[in-house]
Amino acid sequence: MIGISRDGRAALAYLAPAALVLIGLLGYPIYQLVLISFYDYGQEQVSGGAPLNWLGLGNYAKLLSDSQFWTVLAQTVGFAACCVLGTLLVGAALAVLATRVRAVPRALLFLAALGAWATPTVAGSTVWLFLFDANFGLVNEVLGLQGFSWTYDRWVAFGLVAAQVVWCSFPFVMVTLYAGIKAIPGEVVEAAALDGASVPRTVRSVILPLLRPLLVVVTIQSVIWDFKVFTQIYVMTGGGGVAGGNLVLNVYAYQQAFAASEYGLGSAIGVVMTVLLLGFTAIYLRALRRSGEAL
């Protein structure tokens, strides 16, 4: 085996390019982001027309005392949870389905899924909106709901957007899980069958544990992506729905801060979002570790 010190030196060499890029181009901006969140930092300050004003935790205090922030936060969590669940369920179900069919139907399924995956987010949101348009949409034409607006009621609108989010993010889950299931050696499943285990039991005690590392990865990724949904809400609900009823944190941050050039407050929201995601991931990973899984 190779010695520890040699490992350390090699690691340094291998990690150097990544560290250079990540520290310089990501770490430094993130550090600036945190810094900005402590200041009153608007367009005047950015262009050097006004002095900087240190607020300390002022932006955070303002945020936490804003009742709309809490509503939006609750909505975001609920919305993200639904999207993650939907994505995982649809992705897993179709992955299982794909293992049960012959080549041609499977190829069709994969082609469709890859197509959904390949569609740019803006284009995907626009097409969905177009399909569900109150007057010109095919869905209303087919259902005989001429004039029914899918984006008027808060929950109907959230449902529509969630469906779109699931549509464009399930392929990642499906392909990954399909690959995972295919990689499980056939002998393992056969052995379980020979031992007389029932199908549900085989799934529970043989297949699921083997898929677990993959499930962890796709869950964490889905949570990270769905918590930060921006484009779909922005495009499909016209920037946050009727009277702001469909705001999620990322869009709220954009409206409260970037459109209005209040970068300090916007950065604070960004930091809060990061901390929340971090907290969730930590809890999730700890729960996993307690049940015997390491990162």
Partner: protein, 427 residues
């Protein structure tokens, strides 16, 4: 070792930047008399005619100024915020002359983007004919920062075929509007009585102003929201009354902005709407072509006109320009009487000089109600950078939508909006 290196790097960075970055103040000290003049204009749906007029101006300017080239770039309205913010923060890539919307002015000036041109206008003979109420839209704190290039005002469009079939005449006062719209929808349930929208702030403003209300009052340089005053509420109520099942159902209208509201009329789904002179092209191409007429939106008393919002675009000189004299000269050429007239002929943009306006109205039946509305004195949003913030936070559309969807009543919604506005004014 790795960790130490990391710590050192992080520590160095933390020391290097213990405050967020700022641009240096952008100074336009130089005033070169030759070289390239960079001009940003807005891209338009049908840019051809605009570009032809601008090219003509460029040609003329270049022949009058040897050694000067003018580079015109057309920028997207949808990405203008990023482009301008970028230009203000990185003077290297900033233009010398730019077209921009008058509601963006206060914010751009506060960001240090545009130079004062009041003294230059004083020396310019054309300037005395600029309509005073329109010139106000180019001022911040009493100082002029741009030349108004064209204005857009809104008036009341109505369907002549529907009105004559039902034996109706256009409303004479604002109070008559809602009952009239209700009567039309009762007779023709597939039509909106009047197409208005929950996000159509500029359509709402005339109601607010006509009722004696205002967006904000100014005292000693400090603005205070006035939307929750008695008159303000009455005006807003008069508008949101239209967002009802029996006139313009919220299910279909609450999410509409100005474009969508006008579009419903254009496609023949509404008996009336509030639209601008700039919607002329769409009307001509739409289902209502030849079946509509325009009157000024009436005020509270018979014969009066509800004050319209003075929308429009300005031409300004950036603060960071290195060709100040040339930039002002180009501004006076493109924004002057002769080229405003040419722009009207090409694009239908209403001129900002009173005498040119009058000349235009005489020759054109369609423009008359709009020029009358302009004569009656259009009004403007509070000239403060805070307005950009209020606009971006969608304070007023949210208020209108809350009332229209009955999520909040008039009193509560206007109070919330006033609170948000005051927060923006206060910062």
């Amino acid at each position: 070792m790795k960790r130490i290196a990391l710590l050192v790097a992080v520590g160095a960075l933390a020391v290097a930047g213990c405050a967020p970055v700022q641009s240096g103040p952008s100074g336009g000290a130089a005033d070169e008399k030759s070289g390239q003049l960079r001009v940003w204009l807005f891209d338009e749906v049908n840019r051809g005619p605009k570009q032809a007029v601008v090219d003509q101006a460029v040609k003329q300017f270049q022949s009058e100024h040897a050694g000067v080239t003018v580079d015109v770039q057309y920028i997207q309205i949808s990405t203008r915020a990023e482009r301008f913010k970028g230009a203000f923060s990185d003077p290297k890539s900033a233009p010398d002359v730019a077209e921009f919307g008058n509601t963006d002015l206060a914010g751009y000036v506060a960001a240090g983007g545009f130079a004062e041109v009041g003294a230059d206008l004083d020396k310019w003979p054309d300037a005395k004919d600029l309509s005073p109420s329109i010139l106000d839209t180019a001022k911040v704190g009493g100082k002029v920062y741009a030349v108004p290039w064209y204005v857009g005002v809104r008036a009341l469009y109505y369907r002549t075929d529907v009105f004559s079939e039902l034996g109706l005449t256009p409303p004479k006062t604002l109070a008559e509007l809602a009952p009239l719209a209700r009567r039309i929808r009762a007779a023709k349930p597939d039509l909106f009585g009047i197409s208005v929208g929950g996000k159509y702030t500029y359509g709402m403003l005339p109601f607010l102003w006509a009722s004696g209300g205002d967006l904000a009052s100014q005292q000693g340089g400090k603005f205070t929201s006035a939307v929750d005053s008695t008159n303000g509420r009455a005006g807003i109520g008069r508008y949101t009354e239209l967002l009802a099942e029996d006139i313009c159902p919220p299910q279909q209208c609450a999410q509409n902005g100005g474009d969508a509201s006008v579009q419903a009329f254009v496609s023949g789904k509404a008996a009336m709407t509030i639209g601008g002179d700039f919607n002329r092209g769409a009307m001509k191409a739409g289902a209502v072509s030849g079946k509509y007429a325009v009157v000024p939106l009436p005020g509270m008393t018979e014969g009066s006109v509800a004050p319209a919002f003075a929308g429009g675009n300005l031409l300004g000189v950036t603060k960071s320009t290195a060709h100040r004299t040339l930039a002002v000269q180009f501004l006076q050429l493109l924004g002057g009487k002769s080229f405003q007239r040419k722009m009207f002929d090409a694009m239908g943009n209403l001129p900002t000089f009173t005498d040119v306006q009058r000349a235009v109205a005489e020759g054109d039946e369609f423009e008359r109600p709009f020029v009358r509305t302009l004569d009656a004195g259009p009004r403007f949003v509070p000239a403060t950078p805070a307005w950009a913030k209020i606009d971006a936070q969608a304070v007023l559309p949210t208020m209108l939508q809350q009332i229209a969807t009955k999520a909040q009543d008039l009193t509560a919604a206007t109070a919330t909006a006033a609170q948000h506005m005051n927060e923006a004014f206060g910062s």
